[in-house]
């Protein structure tokens, strides 16, 4: 972890320290010691709030939808299983960007035709798209995690009178969670990165702000470099947290 941070710092210093002919580099656009640069940086960093909010809400929704899809997907009855399979295959096949367009531009039309006048704001358009698109993957994560638990556990739960929901809640999920959480956290990283697509429907998150600044400042290299580091830092913080979580759960099991 520490090594990684050093590496990033080194790259940052290297990039910004490059001496180049005037007119090639323009780090002044994001130089916090200059009034304009300071304002620009503030403008860019303010995108963190939206990126994080969209990602967190989408992730929570995705985990919920994923579980709701995964549970019937493990039924012994193929007709109960079928809708889950169709959902997963269908959603997994749609690229994020077309789905985002469909939700943002198409869904309001569908709603209006049903007599519901509900404009979809960029924020919710992004949340819905990210959550649905990701839920196909979380559903598969739940499924493999739950199926990794020995069938005997379910049988034992049944023989002591637990209902299906109770045996999931008290017996299966607590054991499966160790296997489920790390890949779920990985999916969260995926959501954070994919939230950049929300910029195309006008959501004021990190990428959108960078785009807008590029249009006024004509400094794509510097601004996009900063943008990349913004994501990098965000993802590193999350992956640091994931490691911590994995260690914690690993040690809990040894106890």
């Amino acid at each position: 972890m520490r090594n990684k941070l050093f590496l990033i710092l080194a790259i940052l210093v290297g990039v910004s320290g490059c001496s180049a002919p005037a007119g090639t580099w323009g780090w002044y656009v994001i130089d916090p010691t200059l009034p304009n640069g300071y304002n620009n940086i503030r403008f860019l960093l303010n995108g963190f709030g939206a990126t994080i909010t969209v990602s967190v809400i989408a992730a929570v929704l995705s985990m919920t939808i994923g579980l709701i899809v995964a549970l019937p997907g493990m039924s012994l009855n193929r007709w109960v299983r079928l809708p889950s399979r169709i959902y997963v295959e269908f959603v997994r096949a749609i690229p994020l960007l077309p789905m985002l367009f469909w939700v943002f531009y198409g869904l309001p039309v569908v709603l209006r035709s049903m007599g519901i006048n509900f404009p979809i704001e960029p924020f919710w358009g992004a949340v819905i798209t990210l959550a649905i698109s990701d839920s196909a993957f979380t559903a598969e994560i739940y499924r493999s995690g739950i199926q990794s638990i020995n069938k005997g556990q379910t049988e034992a739960a049944k023989t002591i009178g637990l209902s299906y929901i109770q045996s999931m809640l008290y017996v299966i999920l607590p054991q499966a969670i160790r296997r489920i959480l790390p890949p779920l956290a990985n999916q969260f990283i995926y959501i954070v990165k994919m939230s950049a697509f929300a910029s195309v429907i006008g959501m004021q998150e990190l990428t959108r702000r960078a785009n807008e600044l590029v249009v006024t400042e004509y400094r794509p290299l510097e601004i996009y470099t900063l943008l990349i580091f913004e994501y990098l830092i965000l993802v590193l913080i999350i992956s640091f947290f994931v490691r911590w979580l994995e260690r914690k759960m690993g040690s809990d099991e040894r106890k």
């Binding site: 020995n150 005997g152 556990q153 049988e155 034992a156 739960a157 049944k158 023989t159 002591i160 009178g161 637990l162 209902s163 109770q166 008290y170 017996v171 607590p174 054991q175 106890k255």
Partner: protein, 247 residues
Amino acid sequence: MHNPNTAIEIKGLNKWYGDFKALTDVSLTVSDGERVVVCGPSGSGKSTLIRCVNSLENHDSGQITVNGKLLADKHSINEITSEVGMVFQNFNLFPHLSVLQNLTLGPIKARGMSRKDAEERAMAYLERVRIPEQANKKPTQLSGGQQQRVAIARSLCMEPKIMLFDEPTSALDPEMIAEVLDVIIDLAEDGMTMIVVTHEMGFAKKAADRMVFMDQGEIVETGTPAEFFEAPKSKRCQLFLKQILQH
């Protein structure tokens, strides 16, 4: 009509796994308080039979009646399984819970008992299987014999009228078999109705009221232990006993 002394009545039971016929026309009646030992070669359908009784498996045709209730719809299944306890070959304890929590989970969640009452009951049954001092350990910290005794206590905490045992000592090291069998014999002496699938013939001679020999999904022979061991009628049974008693 239902004979009040009949605990389990199985009539004409058939069971397929896909194309494979695991049980063929199995009929068996177990009286209240009776101890039935089921034996037979591997793959003969012993597990399948007792798993049908507490509906861990669905049967394809035939009738199963437990304490006068026909095993049919979801309601009757719940009613019946609450009266039938089951002990598995590989214990199936919940590894993420302590021994005490393993025992109280059913009473608290399925029966709505208070934690305090459930723990009292759990401790009583842990005494019964002679390991009250292990209450706060995790199952993985116990020996196989201790784990199986916890599994028995966990079943008993639901206060079943009938206990099913599926090779309860097969996964145990030889020196631990006796401690588990002693607990089962203890239960048998208290009048618990039980079906025990086992190859422990010493146990069978001591505890069984009746022996059932299965082969290829059929009940080939039943009889008192005396008849069964002294004078088995069928060839298949004679062969089986010869093989098993050699070991």
